[in-house]
């Protein structure tokens, strides 16, 4: 079984011939991100957005060497932190009780992602991709959650994004120029891996066995999947091609 758990496959939803058993959240999120059927999805936030959705590549990430890698990480952490905020709001709006195990985990993970984002912002200062004048200074994110009615679908999107983030850090390591930030990056990466595994366990406990791309939900790669080792070849430009651009989640206001 090939390890393909990444966001890559949502990049061009309209081109996919088969549904792969994709849940409504995938179609909903992908369609919202593609700007199709906006009114039908009824997202008030989306209707107010006047921004553009430019496609970013690794080249567009500010800085070089270590700074560029950290800014790539900051872009993803910024997106993730916002996803968690939106996910919690939607889960609560759907009536998920406060003592629900999944909601409890999601709330604690939300704090951690915000910590990651804030740490990277602090480390990068004026060079941060979110700083004034930089590409994501006025960014917001639309995940299409207003149209989602199944809490499991929200968890599944969180799983997909965390799994992608876990792999994204590994794919970016080779772009560091020295070891200055390796330990810190590894330290963040491991927590993404922990989140991924925990959300996977929650999904499996709730009977959800496939992710939004139709791949099996698993806490970790099985032994017959790349020797049970996370993939290291997920390129930054490939990830950015999914989360930004016309079909992505990122809106520049």
């Amino acid at each position: 079984m090939k390890e393909t758990n990444s966001l890559l496959e949502t990049a061009a939803p309209a081109q996919r011939e088969e549904s792969r058993g994709a849940s409504d959240i995938v179609r909903g999120a992908a369609l919202a991100a593609a700007g199709i059927g906006i009114a039908a999805l009824g997202s008030a936030r989306r209707a107010q957005a006047q921004g553009t959705k430019p496609l970013l590549t690794f080249n567009d990430i500010p800085g070089t060497g270590n700074i560029k890698v950290l800014n790539y990480a900051l872009a993803l952490e910024t997106l993730e932190a916002d996803l968690y905020v939106q996910a919690i709001a939607r889960l609560q709006a759907l009536g998920v009780p406060a003592n629900d195990a999944a909601l409890t985990y999601v709330q604690s993970f939300a704090q951690i992602e915000a910590d990651h984002r804030d740490f990277l912002r602090g480390a990068l200062g004026a060079s941060a991709i979110t700083a004034p004048g930089q590409p994501l200074a006025t960014a917001s994110f639309d995940f299409g959650l207003a149209a989602v009615t199944d809490p499991n679908a929200i968890l599944n999107l969180l799983y997909l994004v965390e799994n992608t983030g876990t792999q994204a850090y590994l794919g970016a390591i080779k772009y560091f120029t020295d070891y200055t930030y390796i330990a810190v990056a590894g330290g963040i990466q491991a927590t993404e891996a922990r989140h991924t595994a925990t959300v996977a366990a929650l999904l499996l406990s709730r009977g959800v066995t496939t992710d939004p791309n139709g791949n099996p939900v698993s806490t970790a790669p099985l032994s017959n999947n790349n020797n049970g080792i996370d993939i290291i070849n997920l390129e930054p430009t490939a990830v950015l091609a999914v989360v930004t651009g016309p079909n992505g989640f990122t809106i520049i206001n």
Binding site: M1, I182, G187, N224
Partner: protein, 285 residues
């Protein structure tokens, strides 16, 4: 001064030493200490390349070799822990090898069935899931071990081998207590990989070796969190855990004004390789 001579011989060690000292606010002192010890002759003649300060007892041809053999040392141990734990949990003989057929899907328990009592899991579902992970991760750790063995050999190195006297683990008599030990060892492994990775070479950054080491660390972190989930614990990382090597903070020495101090679970903790090697000695038969 001999230990510092060992450090002086290697550019990577020098960098790591200065980084560690810098984290403790002793950067300038570290540099002057090294300068003051230059030139004295080493008294230990080592065959091959060794780093007795950071990787005691590990041999290799290069710094990267030491890190991989350090990793392999732990994976051999971990694979054996899982094998023994799975045998005990499923009523197999203690010396039995893993069944040949590995799980092929996330719900696949292979040929194993739990026979020992579950113990203090919060509910039956968590106990079942803990057993499922026991099976799956047993094969994964064996796969890691075999992968590292091949990786070291194929690059012309000599992989470390299984301890001749085997390994002894304090395995409890129910699945919950066994899972608790698994959690402690998995978490030690995560900290070990994160603590060892910075000792690799500059070439390792670009040739994929560093990413591979961090990728294995990533899966151990997944295991640790998944096992914690079955035990009813937080996803972690937890700073102080019984039976786990002491944690150190990756943010030490890295300036970050915004957001500090951080929640306990914000960054994975690491342990020094030498500390880990000492800590696992009691398991060596």
């Amino acid at each position: 001064m001999d230990q510092l001579d060992e450090i002086l011989r290697s550019e990577v060690n020098r960098r790591a030493f200065i980084t560690r000292m810098g984290a403790a606010g002793l950067g300038a002192a570290a540099v002057s200490l090294l300068a003051g010890c230059g030139g004295s002759s080493a008294t230990t003649a080592v065959s091959g390349f060794g780093d007795p300060v950071n990787f005691p007892g590990i041999q290799g041809r290069s710094q990267d070799d030491l890190v991989l053999n350090f990793a392999l040392t732990l994976e051999i141990l971990e694979a054996d822990l899982y094998r023994q734990a799975l045998n005990k949990a499923s009523g197999r003989p203690a010396g039995a090898a893993l069944d040949a057929t590995a799980p092929t899907s996330p719900s696949d328990r292979g040929s194993y069935t739990r026979t020992i009592p579950t113990g203090a899991f919060a509910n039956q579902q968590l106990a079942d899931v803990a057993f499922l992970y026991l099976v799956q991760y047993a094969y994964v750790e064996a796969a890691h071990r075999d992968f590292l063995n091949v990786a070291i050999q194929s690059s012309g190195g000599t992989p470390v081998t299984r301890n001749p006297g085997g390994y002894n683990f304090p395995l409890g008599d129910d699945l919950f207590s066994i899972t608790g030990l698994i959690y402690a060892v998995e978490e030690t492994g995560v900290r070990a990989y994160l603590g060892a990775a910075p000792f690799m070479s500059n070439a390792a950054i670009t040739n994929g070796l560093l990413a591979t080491a961090v990728a294995i660390h990533s899966t151990e972190a997944r295991h640790s969190a998944a096992v914690a989930y079955t035990l009813g614990l937080e996803a972690g990382p937890v700073f102080a855990l019984a039976g786990v090597t002491p944690g150190r903070r990756v943010t030490d020495g890295v300036a970050a004004a915004v957001g500090a101090p951080y929640r306990q679970q914000t960054f994975q903790y690491f342990s020094d390789p030498a500390v880990v090697l000492n800590a696992v000695q009691p398991f060596f038969g």
